[in-house]
């Protein structure tokens, strides 16, 4: 992947041959036009990104129930957060989910990507693999919710068929998170595989040929060529998938709704519940900000650890 510099500025009016006199006028007109072109997006940005970011920060220092004006209470929400066992439970639950989800998903996706690279360029295969990613989270959740059902689900039929005890996948605390994680692995592994696949395509073929001449086995080449050269892509994929994984909501909302007994009350669901069911917008905002900071730190550390912006391809 030899990336050209991204900030290719417009060549300074090289081909334009206006006289010096109207050059200034042209530039001015271009600047005005530019602002007009950006205007709608800028309005959207200010109204739905910048302003909410600022007011979200402010809400996090207030007591706000939506019906009366926010009342400033200093850092009370943050001290509450530190001593709220449910907040820490949510963080723990979410981390456990992310660990299973990302661990399984990344390994499977890497495997699928390597298989595809070795076996086929078929668009049909790639299309099938990507299919689950295109349907809504809600749909993926509902189908598996049915397939995992205690009484009617095919999976429990199979389990009972081979003589084991039926499992309440969504009803038992220790099963709920792994089950939800599995559903999202199912939905995302193919898509993640295609991202990695795109990275694999960028590894020059002659590196493998050289490896083969040196008598390297498949496994050896995977370890010594593929993985190191794929590192920047893998790092980027990890940052994106981990960030997304931390914000799981839909699957939980249509299946367990946080239960059984907080076992799946992940951070996004807890924030949603606090703000929109209990109308504690101040505390909800404080937790959302905590999540933001957590993700930013996480991203920074990940990029540092994986040296994501430096390729070994040179």
């Amino acid at each position: 992947m030899t990336a050209p510099a991204i900030d290719r500025r417009p060549a300074r009016s090289s081909a334009r041959t206006p006289t010096k006199k109207n050059l200034f006028g042209l530039k001015r007109r271009e600047a005005i036009a530019a602002w007009l072109f950006v205007a709608p997006a800028l309005v959207g940005f200010i109204a739905f990104y910048l302003w909410p970011a600022i007011s979200g920060l402010y809400y996090s220092f207030t007591d706000f129930d939506l019906l009366t004006a926010p009342e400033f209470i200093g850092v009370a929400n943050y001290t509450r957060l530190l001593s709220d066992p449910l907040f820490w439970n949510a963080l723990g639950t979410t981390s456990w989910y992310v660990l299973i989800n990302i661990g399984l998903q990344t390994v499977l996706a890497l495997g699928i990507a390597v298989l595809m690279q070795r076996l086929t360029q078929s668009m049909v295969v790639r299309g099938v693999v990507m299919l689950p990613y295109l349907i809504a989270n809600v749909i993926a959740a509902l189908v598996w919710f049915y397939m995992f059902d205690f009484q009617f689900g095919i999976i429990n039929e199979i389990i009972a068929g081979i003589g084991l005890d039926r499992v309440a996948f969504f009803g038992e605390s220790e099963w709920a998170i792994p089950t939800v994680a599995f559903i999202n692995v199912w939905r995302h592994m193919g898509y993640t595989a295609l991202l990695i696949f795109a990275g694999l395509q960028a590894i020059p073929k002659d590196v493998y040929e050289a490896g083969a001449i040196d008598g390297g086995s498949e496994l050896r080449m995977f370890r010594s060529i593929t993985l190191p050269l794929l590192r920047p892509v893998l790092a980027m994929v990890l940052v994106v998938t981990v960030t997304g994984s931390f914000q799981i909501f839909d699957t939980i909302a249509v299946t367990t709704q946080g239960g059984p007994v907080n076992a799946t009350r992940v951070i996004n669901y807890y924030i949603f519940d606090m703000a929109f069911n209990r109308f504690d917008f101040g505390y909800g905002s404080a937790m959302a900000l905590a999540l933001f900071v957590l993700l930013a730190v996480f991203t920074f550390v990940q990029l540092r650890l994986t040296r994501a912006n430096k390729s070994d391809l040179g």
């Binding site: 990336a3 991204i6 290719r8 060549a11 081909a15 334009r16 041959t17 530039k27 007109r29 602002w35 072109f37 950006v38 709608p40 997006a41 959207g44 940005f45 739905f48 990104y49 302003w51 909410p52 970011a53 979200g56 499977l108 495997g111 298989l115 070795r118 076996l119 086929t120 360029q121 668009m123 299309g127 990507m130 295109l134 809504a136 989270n137 809600v138 749909i139 509902l142 189908v143 049915y146 009484q151 095919i154 199979i158 991202l195 960028a202 980027m236 940052v239 994106v240 909501f249 839909d250 909302a253 917008f281 905002s285 900000l289 999540l291 933001f292 930013a296 991203t299 990029l303 994501a308």
Partner: protein, 318 residues
Amino acid sequence: MTTIINAPAVTAPQELDRAPRPRRRTTPKFTLGRAMAWVALGAVMLITLIPFYWMLRTSFSTSTSLGSDPGSLLPVDFTFGAYERVLGLATPAEALAEGGSGASINFWVYLRNSLIVATVTTIGQVLFCSMAAYAFARLQWRGRDLVFSAFIAALMVPPIFTTIPNFVTIRELGLLNTYAGIILPTLLMTPFAIFFLRQFFLGISREVEEAAIIDGAGTLRRFFQVILPLGSAPIVTLAILTYITSWNEYFWPQLVGREEEVRVLTVALGVFRSQTPQGGPDWAGLMAATLIAALPILVMFIFLGRRVINSIGYSGVK
């Protein structure tokens, strides 16, 4: 962050529609390893497809009979009843007899709402983001890099953080339970859309635009007559991605659009799932409803899938 921003720089727009590279070996020799690899890939595809089959199989079953043979690979007591009651074509008595609720459910309304929301969002977002991306990629103006950095920084913010104040805004505007309320936050821009298009616009040949300048074309004409036609491939790709994202969105519409008249399909599915008419959910009805909700995207994917798949890796992230 740098990587994510850098990734799409790999893009060469002209490569978008290029056919896959020719295979290196025309007939790879058969080995045990290759056979096993195919088996593994086949298993992956099977696991991917089984739930889709299960939706189909269940949607043609009679809900009340499902319990008697939950493991059946074929529909249990084949019927179109589930589709009829989900689409409001069955009488309450018929619906009750097959395990549905007697209450009227009408997925036509939700289908219409999803169509409106996804279509308007896509048109607005693609148009306004193309315009902005043009200004970022091709025009000289003071403040450009600053504004662009601010937009990109918004990619980092977790949606839940801005959702709370956005809900307050929409509520204060009196737009709860309106299409406008559902659509507005993503109508004018998303950081991803601008970022995605800018990368492509940067790569469009400068010569054509310069020829237009010499012809005296203003910025507006250059945008419509040069950039939009030359950038049509990535613009269409973005439109597809935006449509799918908007169609599948659940979190925001379930906050601001719970009312029946504006309820979109994803929200309706959530509501439907929580109804347990006869002790348990109406599984056949639910699966029929999920298929109806997924169908437009699946059809779109069959016709435009190549474009979506090719955009992966080029778009870097999404």
